[in-house]
């Protein structure tokens, strides 16, 4: 079982789109896949039309004495299950703060799914908190979308700085350029500069695409309705590139 976290401190960079489309493609390619939504906004669940069960609490996810198995729901697609989020997930950091060795809780909880899934995709909230540290410990790959702009570049450097200060493995990090508009000079220059300085940036580039924006209208992964267009193809290629490096 491999865990991939779609993560960034910054919002609006394409984390959820990446998590949703990556999970779908992983399932299509034959991996038993679970998408876990950790963001209280619950956007991942929305894209799959899956609502959380009423009895599901954030403590189920971080307390190894409890189980998340009963809260998992099957999606409309073969090999793909969803663990949707709820608004009460906004308190998860408070709960983690009350626990001992709390930075490893998520990893321990996910262990019970070891035999059920080949790939788990985490859709993470945009912050850097105790939950983020749990994510860094639980994930085999931290997938960071970067909009090739100065602000996103700064955010990316902040994450790397945090990793360095807290002794996390840099080799877990994979980044990709998201919402790219190649006609913009600033995008082209930033991509070129970052590729030179960081070897863990993936080859696949996800362009800004109207199809990705339509995911919310259709409530489907982009590959379901635009596989042969740039948005659909980009996420298909991105997934295969990430999985090939696991």
């Amino acid at each position: 079982m491999k865990v991939i976290a779609s993560y960034s401190i910054k919002g609006g960079v394409g984390k959820t789109a990446a998590a949703v489309n990556l999970a779908y493609q992983s399932a299509v390619d034959g991996n038993r896949t679970l998408l876990i939504d950790l963001d209280p906004q619950g956007a991942s669940g929305f894209y799959y039309k899956v609502k959380a069960k009423k009895k599901y609490k954030s403590s189920d996810l971080i307390d190894k004495k409890k189980s998340i198995k009963d809260s998992i729901r099957e999606s409309d697609y073969k090999n793909l299950d969803i663990l949707p989020s709820r608004m009460n997930f906004r308190h998860i950091d408070l709960e983690l703060g009350d626990m001992k060795n709390s930075e490893d809780s998520l990893r321990k909880s996910l262990k019970e799914l070891n035999k059920d899934y080949d790939v788990i995709v985490l859709d993470c909230p945009p912050n850097i908190t105790l939950l983020s540290e749990n994510i860094f410990n639980a994930a085999d790959t931290i997938l960071i979308p970067i909009i090739p702009s100065p602000l996103s570049e700064r955010t990316f450097e902040q994450i790397l700085d945090f990793f360095g200060k807290h002794d996390y493995h840099f080799k877990k990090i994979r980044a990709f350029f998201s919402l790219v508009e190649k006609r913009k000079t600033v995008h082209r220059d930033t991509m070129e500069r970052l590729r030179k300085s960081h070897k863990f940036i993936l080859n696949t580039v996800v362009p800004k695409s109207a199809d990705v924006e339509k995911m919310g209208v259709f409530q489907k992964p982009v590959q379901c309705f635009a596989l042969s267009r740039i948005g659909g193809m980009a996420y298909r290629d991105l997934t295969r590139e990430i999985l090939s490096k696991l």
């Binding site: 799959y48 039309k49 609502k51 069960k53 998992i72 729901r73 099957e74 409309d76 409530q219």
Partner: protein, 502 residues
Amino acid sequence: MAFTYWENKSGNNNIGNFLPESGFECEKRGETPGKITFWDSYDRALLGKGYSILKTGNRWQVWNIRTWEALDFQATKRASEETPKFWQTYEQGAFQDWVKKNLGLNALVKMASFDFAFSEIVCRNSEGKTVTRLDEIKLNERTILKIIGLRGYEEEYGRLTRFVSSQNYDLHENEWFSNVLQNAGVELYHEIPLEELLPGGEIPIRRAVSDMVLNYLHIARFYEEGIQKDLDTECLHKYRVALRKIRSLLSIIKEIYPEQDGLILKNDFRELQQNTNHLRDLDVHLMEEEEYRQLLPENFREDIHPLFADLKKERKSELNRVRSLLESDGYKKKMRQLEEYFERIYKIPHTADSIKPVKEVAKSYIRVLYGKMVKNIAKINDDTPEEKIHTLRITGKKLRYLLEFFEPVLDLELRKKLVTALKRIQDELGRFNDQCSQIEYLSGKVQTGTAEGSDLVALGILIGVVYTRKQEQRKIVINKISDFSSKRVKSIVSELTQSEGS
């Protein structure tokens, strides 16, 4: 993923009439009507494992008949439906691999043909999310509904099953497909499990042996049709295994039938077995063609072609002889008489041993046969004639059958340990025996004088190669057999065969 099968009691098969009342938004996805044919080995080996091979149009697929789902691979080779198919007749790939693994030497035979339609109905909640699914499977006049639950939507699954049940639908067992086949005239083959034949260790030995003989007789009779149709070599092989098991039972367990009856039975079964000896030998040699070819230097490989061409001709004529025999009134009468004898065994007077408890008798014969093997092993050395080694193999085979026949009344773990130890030497002895038979057969071919020139040279080389291998195998046999008379195995046998309470 939970699922259940349902069928309408009143024959009202139009699901579309009632689903709108279920409270779900339901959508039926394309029905694909057509003909479907069902394929399996002659003895329904796949059905026994919970699978079947279904052919629609040119597409061959393996289906899990419990979940009614196709496995993720298929073959599309176009082939005449009436011809038996072996795994080699399909294109390379996952389908061929699966058929090879599960059918081996068995041919795939068409069992039944149905009018077939399959459609999927998805049931959604108010959010538009699929919460449960229905598969509608139509086979001839039957329509079966499979209600499939989705993980995390147990409540919705329960709601739909309750609704379907309220619409005059009956819950079906998962094995409904077997019933459909039986209704279509497919005779199902079930070997009676030994546990049923031996319900306890205290039943009289003659009753147990007679039930087993009758069971093997039925098995042999089942394969007669397969032999006559020459579907594959396995039909004859399994027919002969069934007869061999009967002969073993009758020769190992002595004095449970009146003396005269015992002699007649042994003689009858020996004759029955002998009827097919030559055909089986020919099958075995023909199957070894590639192995023989590989034993020869490359420039001689084509020279054994005439030998196998002759064998094929000989097999054809031998098969015709066996066919006539199986068709003959004399054969049918003999088989019927034997069946009747064992069916009416309660009418035959008892002997001193016939009412002994099966468990006690089995243990005593295991002790006797093992003792015999230990004595034989002690006498085998580098100069021992081949016949003595073959005698050891045959005694070992009897012991192996004994452990198989009486498995339900023996200690599971100890029996398993002894079988493992026995198998280790039987495999080596079997290999040695095969090589002796090959030399005998090839030498016979030289003596007939039909081979000449390069064919004769090829035969000579083959005999030389097999002879060298045989000598090497003999050394392996002599090295390994002593393990079977070790203290460890002796103590296993002693523990396995000790009397109750001792």
